[in-house]
């Protein structure tokens, strides 16, 4: 049993997929606020196996996971809020504050343009992803596609960029959202909502930035990953068969993710095992 629980494929692929699928089937009839929790539950199961929910010493990845927990509550509140006009501003401020908390220890190590890049480009990357992805909360397929592509791109890039833990966390989100895409394919899509998009995208954005700041992920990979929400907005023909629509929607968003993985692989090569 221990062997199974310690297997990276079980931790970051099978378990989050199954948990997300089961929770999605249970929550699907309940609609808006709760259904998005399916992918969050799948990811949480994976986090439990990877970290035992231990949060000391409070290193960057533990901070990211704590912020992800807080973002679930924020997402739920946003889903329940009757007015939406303040949402982008609220998410922007929250994303900037979260990013500064994560990268704060590195401010002492940098100076000159690197310091400014960290202080400005880092929060901008996280805020852009969170705000632009959260805007897709009504669009189930685009929301699932964008999180799936972002998680695969971030996870595989982080793995190649010499931090397997970040890679596993990213892959776990990909597997959890993969279960939701499976439901899309069999004709039972479920809504995403802010409750899914805010925490998962925030975690992925911070993992990507953390892999640059605390490991060896090339910074320019983040530019490619930042294009994923833009690709998700490319309009597709409404007359297209459903399955083809799903496949193209996923493939379009995977293009920048694949580019990010390729750029990292070219820079870093294969991971040491």
């Amino acid at each position: 049993m221990d062997e199974l629980l310690n297997n990276p494929l079980f931790q970051s692929a099978l378990l989050p997929f199954v948990v997300s699928l089961v929770v999605a089937v249970i929550l699907r009839p309940h609609g808006w606020v709760w259904a998005g929790l399916s992918a969050v539950a799948g990811f949480a199961a994976s986090v439990y196996l990877l970290t035992d929910f231990r949060f000391f010493p409070l290193s960057s990845h533990r901070k990211i996971l704590l912020l992800g927990g807080g973002a679930v509550i924020l997402g739920m509140v946003l889903d329940l809020l009757p007015w939406r006009r303040i949402t982008p501003a609220l998410l922007f401020v929250a994303a900037v504050a979260a990013t500064l908390w994560i990268v704060w220890p590195r401010f002492r190590a940098f100076d000159g343009w690197q310091l400014w890049a960290l202080a400005i480009a880092g929060p901008t990357y996280v805020a852009w992803l969170v705000v632009s992805c959260e805007a897709l909360r009504h669009k189930s397929l685009q929301a699932d596609s964008v999180v799936f592509a972002l998680s695969l791109g971030t996870g595989l890039s982080a793995l190649l960029g010499a931090t397997a833990l970040y890679g596993q966390l990213g892959s776990a989100i990909a597997a959890a959202v993969g279960a939701r895409l499976f439901l899309q394919i069999i004709g039972k899509p479920i809504v995403a909502g802010s409750i899914m998009l805010v925490p998962l995208v925030a975690v992925l954005a911070l993992l990507g930035l953390g892999a640059v700041v605390y490991a060896k992920l090339p910074w320019y990979c983040l530019i490619s990953l930042a294009l994923i929400p833009v690709m998700a907005r490319i309009p597709l023909s409404a007359n297209m068969p459903r399955l083809l629509h799903i496949v193209i929607s996923v493939l379009i968003t995977l293009l920048p993710a694949a580019l990010a993985v390729f750029l990292t692989w070219r820079e870093a090569g294969a991971p040491p095992l």
Binding site: T51, S59, P105, R106, A162, T163, Y166, G210, G269, P271
Partner: protein
């Protein structure tokens, strides 16, 4: 009364002379480690940058140690693996750049060995780790006139999981063995 005070002052002076301070020679001090790799073999590595100070009180056979290791200087002979070891998976050197070992409880034995009981700090977590010191050798440096050097080898072991370094457990071993070769120059 004056004689007693004088005697106490003389003893204090002799004790102060017996306690010597040393600075670690970074070019001859390297913490080495061993760890089991996937149950197949024992992998060796070392840290290339170490600094610190020693105090040795020869009169009382005690001393203290304060060593700082640059976590990013880990070296296993393969840059890609070293990058992985400094990443958040293992030492998280960007966030926790220093590994320290501090002890004020050094017991020097008559057979040139010693026992050091101190605190090892990795990733901000401090735990007691004991080191066994073999063969303390001191004398004038043969190639640097006027330089007095002490050297020794120390070894100990600890569990990396105690310090929150839990990645890839149990495939990559939990227990780490430390071997530290130390040379220090008397100030």
């Amino acid at each position: 009364m004056r004689k007693v005070c004088l005697a106490v002052a003389m003893m204090a002076s002799m004790s102060a002379q017996a306690a010597e301070s040393y600075t670690i020679d970074p070019f001859h001090t390297y913490p080495n480690f061993e760890i089991n790799h996937l149950g197949f073999s024992t992998m060796h590595g070392r840290f290339d940058k170490t600094e610190g100070k020693l105090n040795i009180d020869w009169a009382n056979n005690t001393g203290s140690v304060d060593i700082t290791i640059d976590a990013a200087s880990v070296s296993t002979g393969m840059k890609k693996r070293d990058d992985h070891l400094t990443s958040p998976d293992f030492l998280n050197a960007a966030e926790f750049p220093e590994i320290t070992y501090k002890s004020s409880k050094v017991t020097i034995n008559k057979d040139k060995t010693a026992k050091v009981e101190g605190n090892l700090t990795i990733m901000g977590v401090s735990k007691p780790v004991a080191l066994k010191v073999e063969s303390i050798n001191c004398g004038d440096h043969p190639m640097k006139k006027g330089t007095y050097v002490c050297g020794f080898d120390a070894e100990g072991k600890f569990k990396r999981s105690d310090f929150g370094v839990t990645y890839a457990l149990p495939a990559i071993g939990d227990e780490m063995k430390l071997h530290i070769e130390v040379e220090a120059v008397r100030n």
